[in-house]
Point group: D2
Chain length 435, copies 4
């Protein structure tokens, strides 16, 4: 890495961008960003313009000399980048609404990452990220790809299997869990450490420490008694006390889809079709109105309603840990490499990892307890099959992936969902064009 | 092993007994049974008397000098036995009706082995089989235990983990699949061979051979086009053509509960509560009426309606293969020992094994294809947790087992089912007496 | 497979050929050989002529109508063959003498398979077998390659890794061990069965059965007390009683090189350079003189001195088991596929396998006892590195392979041996031509 | 952990003690040692007195108020300790001389850890450490045992398998390798980081980083060209350039015993019997003379000749990392837990680990390259067998362990060595008393 960094944000027109910029600004002392490229596609041009202008004002306010560029030319942006962040949403929120709606027709969870909705999203996203990776392989082979694009586990798995790109999959769930535990214990979140192990949106906190002392059962008791542990975009159903005690581990908010499937399904149905997507569209509209205000020179507090809290922390602090060779522990999606015994070495898992300039190395976890082993293997199998289907574009691969999803109740449902997904996403699934 | 064999049938009053006896009679030339003990409990006395008398008539008819005994003293029967067959049903068909009914209240499959009903059955059966094994360890340590008692996978797993008894778990499903394939191809079943791999009632035919030539895809095509492949006790829903093609393997009839969950659930509900158990009660009543006929000297054809076809073949031909050191291949439930890579060495799997006097050795299968890997791991995890709960009698263990069952839709359902199981089976769950 | 079989013997001019022919003749009833091709290279033309004429006389004597061909055109012979047997010796006995001599200069065991001599042999043989396999892939893709060519483990490993050919590696050591055990117990060898596990020339008999009953410790005691268990080409040093008892398994004769390294080295040195090769050259000369006798119409008893006893049994009975879909157990070198837990699925091991028309399936062995685990892993690592070196022709790969050999005492020795091997085998190592 | 720490040094009369004390003194600001117990046995009383007095002077000089105790009552010292350091040498340097001498008679490397000498040492040490652990289990169950006692790998393995004690095995080799690399590159050692993986005294540096950039091949080239990388107690034979290039990893100094066996054996023989032990006895005598000097108030520079350099750094900085919950990376001997794929989860390995108050977690390494896989597995098998023999006291276990040692050339040698070890160590091997 040279003196100043070149950082590229693909999906720069996202409403999340100001938080990311705030993250860079907070770390000015340690992270010398020379060039910042915000890239988007034609359709996102207008939004890109708004986020770029806001970015420039934010940078100007604190007196930095980072050069900010906006472009629709992805290759220009990628060339010689040090870090590339992908925060895209193929098909936009409209596609998300469809993703969330289709499965509900067939009594399947629609959720856009964990649910069958995530399957549709994966199929749309895989060809786009694959193209981006081909550009990175050619134009910035040493760059790190920090992937936020959901379903993060599947996308990272695909990049790892089908490209040469150095990739890390990132998510705000682990940080959110740490912050929630801090809230439960009423302490500063810096004093909390959690042994994470599992998959993205399927990660367990196997032990919780406060100042290095185990407090797992104390936290679980409080959680069972009603302490909240959730995220903006997941209905905050109370955890069952007995489940938490039997589990003996901290579930992530998304685990509700697996352990409380029927209630979550009920929720999704009651909420109306594609509700979360629609709410988000509303929030986004307001956010961009706010971003346009030429007097706004910092991240507006309204952004926190968006559900992406701690995102900036996760991404920028990871970049800084790599750049500054910090040896910090981050919770990331990377190649298992034996960290979770019993899962193949070459699959992507979400675990704690040591982050240095040379890369990320997972901390060995050993065997998963049998109580979570089955579910983790089942979901990982679904993810691998989805990567395969997303690349091959074979109907049978896609069907096999969907029927392997623990939340898809039958082959009939799987076929219905797949039919509707293929139909409604026609323009976004070039790999399935032969069907 | 001495000259003549001592064989003990625990649950000798079962309606299946005549088929077993027929099996021994067919193999008289190779299997010298000197003593045959039929054992049952007080409550089954009357039935035991009927089956014993029929047995004696069957034996007399063919002019054998096998001595047939009936007894309620299990220890007397076990002492110095060479082979012990367990075909018990703890709680009888009444308990089965309850097992099948309870889960339906909570939208879960009730089926008595694969469904949540099988969980109840396992909890009832584990203490009884454990007691039997303690007797075997003491009184007949060299005996082979041939276990038919369902859920066979869980029971065999328990025996393997918690006793010193030499056990084989047996099931008629693999033989049934071979016979059905033979019917589909219209050939003699002896010409068919299948590479089985998986778990009991969750076994896949990975390759199918006719006279040593692969015919897997031919069979799967016919199956997808409507050829039947089922068993008496499972509703014969037509397999989905696309599922079969995507899978590329032969599913077992019980796989319907996993791949067609909602339709099977609908079936179970429409059939009324505990229907299969009630049908069976009716069939049994008639069977025993038939057995009582002093002119009956052979297995009556009506028995085939009962759903246990090929049972005799599986059990007696296994015994003969062991006794005669045959080196034959049988499909059995035994210690994995690496046969399925990726599953622990010490779990029970259902695979082809070479059978000799010295014991059974599984044929190595390698890694399971990822399309079935997830489901097999999930079900095996449920089975291991159930063994643990069945031994410990801990509420939390039981809850964790149930919520890990792929066919139990939520913690709410799991708690409801568990509550009802514990309540309705009070007299049969000594291990849970502390609750 | 059609009506009559086409069988091709590459290295048909070998002195072993009459034994192979005898094997086919013995199995005429079950194995309809229509065409038998004996192939050799220009240099072996004369010997090929002699063995072909003898073969024709042997066939004529028993009145078979198998057509026997001799040819130097390998591709003509391979085309549409059902089974191809490779019994070649690249470089002939002269190269063997060099292989055995070189390591002794550096205090390393020279033995032509297990010793460092086997490394030289592997380097010479890999390119030739690879060429043969390319022909098979093109001209007889359904053919089985039965490989006897040593070092059988390395050659089979290479074929499995670098070609599409269906290969089985065969060796007479397991049959020899069974026969020796039979001799020790003074019973017919058909009554003996051994659980074999390990690598070629590094195979252990984990349990020994007589009529299906365990007799392992009885046999080991006798072996410790001086019963012989060896082969023609290995000096019959008495096994140490305490080693045998500690081991608790039956070692193969070649294990002497590992457990009695210094004594075997002393033996080899005392015997003079390349002695075994020279003895064999003498025996061969006499054998061929005998084969030329136009009155000779069967395998002459002198062949047994040659050291390849049971070879015919191993090869022809394997071919018959495949062709006749027998389901027999043979001890072979095939893909591990989980049979030995802890070794990778894709390495070649020597284990018992079920043999059917569809192929060979290893019987799962589970984990190796820790007492042999280390040595087996060390030798397998050497074999894998040798395959790599034999393909790549890289000096560093070759050095790494040699220094990983447990019987090569130091890098100095490894470099000396490698230097001499490369020098003395110049004409036979095209892959190293860039050095 | 309370306010002030109680630290116990078993083997407090060791000549290494002043370095350890220096380590604590250097870290006074972060590590509040309230009580320091130096324990030894009757025979070491005099030395213990000398080191305790020196310790008191060292502590006094810097004005600390740590209370220093000397005692022969191990249990008093262990009670409620926070950290216990074992630096014992059962049988003293006299036994070491015997350990080093015996194997040479049989052409085996004698070295006291890696060689067959280490086997004798392990047998003597296992019963003593086991007793210490029983005391810790009873009197200080929360204490960390920092074990320096050699052979560290075997001792740590034994503690992990046969006790409940929280143990870390520590060695100065990894720090030495880092310092040597720093010297080779002429940079400060803090800028060097190495990915360590393997076993104690058999550890490889898989990648080397300078300021987070890979410099592995640069370092290896220099090493091949003659740069030194060794330790006081190992003859500094130049590494072979081709070996280093082929290996592509940084070997540890002890690897010379495996890769340069014959030269090292020659060295050991030329050096005379038990030379290193005798040299050390001489050095120790002088050291203690020096320690007695009442004017000496700090670690004397002569200690560095002793060969234990960096020992203090390893131990005290590890204690501080645990106590202060630092999240630092240390290279330690701990439970594998999947860190090295392919080795069992429950064996001890030497790897980088994250150190926090809650304990140590190994960083996942994935599969070892096949070039080192065989040797690592072979040595680990020897270690496991040695633990077994050290506990059981069975002759056969001991013989099997020794013959499994890659540096023991034959069963004859193994039996000779074992005979002499048992004879010369009679008073120290209670577990073998039945022989």
């Amino acid at each position: 890495m040279g003196k100043g960094l070149k950082i590229t944000v693909i999906g720069g027109g996202s409403s999340y961008t100001p938080e990311l910029i705030e993250g860079f600004i907070k770390r000015t002392a340690e992270l010398p960003v020379e060039e910042l490229y915000l890239v988007d596609i034609e359709r996102g041009k207008e939004k890109l313009n708004i986020t770029t202008e806001l970015t420039k004002r934010m940078i100007a306010k604190v007196g930095l000399n980072t050069k900010v560029y906006q472009t629709l030319d992805r290759r220009e942006a990628i060339k010689d980048s040090d870090f590339i962040i992908t925060q895209i949403r193929v098909g936009g929120l409209k596609a998300r609404a469809s993703d969330e709606r289709i499965p509900l027709k067939y009594n399947a969870i629609g959720q856009e990452t964990t649910g069958a909705g995530g399957f549709a999203k994966a199929l749309r996203t895989i060809p786009v990220i694959l193209d981006i990776c081909r550009d990175i392989e050619e134009l910035a082979p040493k760059a790190w790809l920090i992937n936020f694009t959901n379903p993060a586990s599947i996308i990272t798995e695909m990049v790892l299997r089908h490209t040469q790109v150095k990739v890390v999959g990132l998510c705000n769930v682990p940080i959110g869990m740490i912050n929630n535990v801090a809230k439960i214990l009423d302490v500063d979140s810096k004093r909390i450490r959690i042994d994470f192990a599992g998959l993205n949106h399927m990660v367990y906190g196997r032990e919780i420490y406060l100042d290095g002392e185990r407090v797992t059962s104390e936290v679980l008791t409080k959680l069972g008694e009603g302490a909240s542990l959730t995220m903006k975009n997941i209905k905050d159903l109370q955890w069952d006390k007995d489940l938490i005690r039997s589990l003996g581990m901290l579930p992530c908010p998304y685990h509700r889809y697996f352990y409380m499937t029927d209630e979550m399904l009920e929720e999704e149905k009651n909420a109306g079709e594609g509700t979360r997507a629609e709410q988000v569209m509303e929030i986004e509209k307001e956010l961009f109105k706010r971003y346009e205000d030429p007097n706004l020179q910092e991240k507006p507090p309204e952004l926190e309603k968006r559900g992406g809290a701690y995102y900036s922390d996760a991404a920028v602090s990871l970049i800084s840990a790599i750049y500054n060779d910090k040896g910090e522990i981050h919770t990331v999606n990377i190649r298992n490499n034996g960290a979770i015994s019993g899962l193949a070495d070459d699959v992507v898992v979400e675990v704690n990892a040591v982050v240095n300039r040379e890369g990320l190395k997972p901390i060995a976890v050993g065997k998963l307890p049998i109580k979570i082993h089955g579910l983790v293997h089942a979901v990982k199998a679904y993810e691998l099959l989805t990567v395969q289907a997303g690349i091959s574009g074979d109907y049978e691969d896609a069907l096999m992936a969907l029927i392997s999803h623990p939340l898809v109740p039958s082959i009939k449902a799987a076929k219905g969902i797949l039919h509707d997904i293929l139909y409604e996403n026609k323009g976004y699934l070039p790999q399935f064009s032969k069907l």
